[in-house]
């Protein structure tokens, strides 16, 4: 009798089958990113032993989040390509519904990135005594980033369903990820220098927080409750909107 090795659990149902299928095709990108992130964390673990280590860990954590968000953009490009090329008709000509199709992509974008991120964030705990690290901060960061990845996955999947073009989704994704927050900051600087009026840091934070909810965390206490609540609530509203409009208009 052949030995059976434990593998990824087999998912059941049309939605689960589609998630399983997408992951089996595109999991390489997430694995490659996790290895890259592992290397970054190896460095940060050493540096985290310095007095400013906790802030550094948060800084590295946010940087790594951007890398995972870039992976989400790249994977969402495949969804757009699938819809634009007509490959999606292959799946949508089965009992898989349009809502299930979009939800499968959202889950496939968000869940592996969140899982890989959380695992890599917890890596330092393997070599540093948990008593030396503020566990609340680590968990807060993990949940905050997870919320942001979810929030971003929903937005980018919605864009992919509407635009149906890989390049356009990549450009829009990068614009939302990096350019839009920078434009807000530069606009505030220009506004201040032209009018002399000051833009309060809270206002600026709130505006950038629309694109990156994680920035709403409390810097003094390193409390991540606000971004977690914001991104999860927004994600739920966006999921409902995407299911209502993007999926309903999905003709192939």
């Amino acid at each position: 009798m052949k030995p059976r090795f434990p593998g990824r659990p087999r998912l059941e149902g049309a939605l689960a089958s589609q998630i399983d299928y997408i992951l089996s095709r595109y999991s390489k990108a997430v694995i490659a990113t996790t290895i890259l992130v592992g290397l970054i964390y190896s460095t940060s673990i050493l540096l985290a032993l310095l007095p400013a280590g906790l802030d550094l860990l948060v800084g590295v954590g946010l940087l790594v989040m951007l890398i995972y968000l870039a992976v989400v953009v790249e994977l969402a490009g495949n969804m757009a390509q699938e819809l634009g090329s007509g490959e999606a008709a292959l799946y949508l000509s089965t009992p898989l519904s349009r809502v299930q199709y979009v939800m499968a992509w959202i889950a496939s974008l968000a869940v592996p990135a969140i899982a890989a991120y959380t695992v890599s964030l917890l890596t330092p705990l393997l070599v540093i005594s948990p008593s030396l690290i503020a566990r609340d901060v680590v968990w807060g960061l993990a949940l905050g980033v997870s919320g942001e990845i979810m929030y971003y996955s929903v937005i980018i999947a919605g864009l992919a369903a509407l635009l149906k073009r890989k390049n356009l989704v990549s450009i829009m994704g990068i614009a939302l990820l990096l350019i839009a927050p920078l434009v807000i900051v530069f606009s505030a600087i220009i506004y201040t220098s032209v009018t002399g009026a000051e833009v309060s840091p809270e206002t600026l934070k709130s505006l950038v927080g629309v694109f990156h909810p994680i920035i709403l965390f409390d810097e003094d206490t390193l409390n991540f409750t606000a971004p977690i609540i914001y991104s999860l609530t927004s994600s739920l509203i966006l999921v409902a909107l995407v299911a209502r409009y993007a999926a309903r208009s999905l003709e192939v």
């Binding site: 589609q18 095709r25 490959e87 008709a89 292959l90 000509s93 089965t94 009992p95 003709e251 192939v252």
Partner: protein, 303 residues
């Protein structure tokens, strides 16, 4: 419900054109139906509406009693072969078959049977990008057959194939529809191909359905010639007898049968003559093969 597909006053508009204009037709259970019309007439749109991957702008589409746009579950009983299927080039044949089988709640065993039926059982471990056009079409047919569909929608199933592959695919379609006892709708603009397989016809032109019905009825209505296959112990003698009739346009000899082209206006007289010959022992049995689709189509289009 007797009809498998029911279109009532269906309109479908794209951003730049109207693809269907008030299409109404129905297709009964168990037939092999041709969707006949030139390129751009609305055939593919009709099939996609029936499948529920397009939403009608107006009108009602019912397939197996359900609205396929709102009820994706009805697609579990349908198989679809698109005109130009786009496959994931990075996947292997087995992986795709397995996935579509799971979506249609079919087992991998069924998927392997479908692969065998269409002759790609040795290609299961091949990457899809390595398959020739003929094999890609076979793969499409295997995917369409998963889940033992009650309704098969085939969009230009022989497009881009060489003549040998065309013959093989047509043979497969005939065999499979018989085996599954499925209703089949084939969209095509190639008349000789449809002529060989269909017994029901929906004629479509510029987004409008001009007529629909059994080929036999349409042939009579449009006075197109009809093809009879007559079994006989003596084909040459029978052919000599029939060719002299003024409403017989031609006779083709087979080994133990003949095919006769008959003007549809005289089919009763022709059948009466066959009955006489049957009593003399020269005719064993006869059947209407089909009407000449080209003539039916021309007559329907010219009104």
């Amino acid at each position: 419900m007797h009809e498998v597909v029911y279109f009532e006053d269906v309109y479908k508009a794209y951003s730049d054109k109207m693809a269907l204009r008030g299409a109404s037709f129905k297709i009964p259970r168990g037939v092999i139906s041709g969707l006949l019309g030139p390129n751009g007439s609305g055939k593919t749109t009709s099939l996609k509406l029936a499948l529920g991957i397009l939403k009608p702008s107006r009108g009602a589409v019912l397939v197996l009693g359900d609205d396929p746009w709102r009820e994706p579950r009805v697609r579990a009983s349908m198989g679809y072969l698109p005109e130009s299927p786009i496959y994931p080039r990075d996947a292997r044949v087995r992986m795709l078959l397995k996935h579509i089988a799971r979506l249609k709640k079919a087992s991998m065993g069924e998927a392997e049977r479908a692969a065998k039926l269409v002759g790609i059982e040795k290609m299961l471990e091949h990457p899809i990008s390595a398959l020739s056009r003929g094999y890609l079409q076979r793969l499409g047919l295997a995917l369409a057959l998963l889940g033992d569909p009650e309704l098969l929608l085939l969009d230009e199933p022989t497009a881009n194939l060489d003549p040998r592959a065309r013959v093989e695919i047509l043979r497969l379609i005939r065999d499979v529809s018989r085996m599954l006892d499925a209703t089949v709708i084939i969209s095509s603009h190639i008349l000789p191909e449809l002529q060989e397989v269909v017994d029901y016809l929906v004629i479509i032109s510029q987004g409008e359905v001009l007529d629909h019905g059994p080929v036999e009825d349409l042939a009579r209505r449009y006075r197109a010639r009809m093809l009879y296959r007559v079994s006989t112990p003596n084909p040459r003698l029978l052919a000599r007898d029939l060719i002299v009739l003024h409403y017989v346009d031609g006779v083709m000899l087979g080994e133990d049968s003949i095919t006769v082209y008959v003007s549809s206006t005289h089919y009763r007289a022709f059948e009466a003559r066959l009955e006489e010959l049957a009593s003399e022992g020269l005719v064993e049995e006869y059947s209407i093969e089909t009407g000449l689709l080209g003539e039916i189509y021309e007559a329907a289009v010219s009104g």
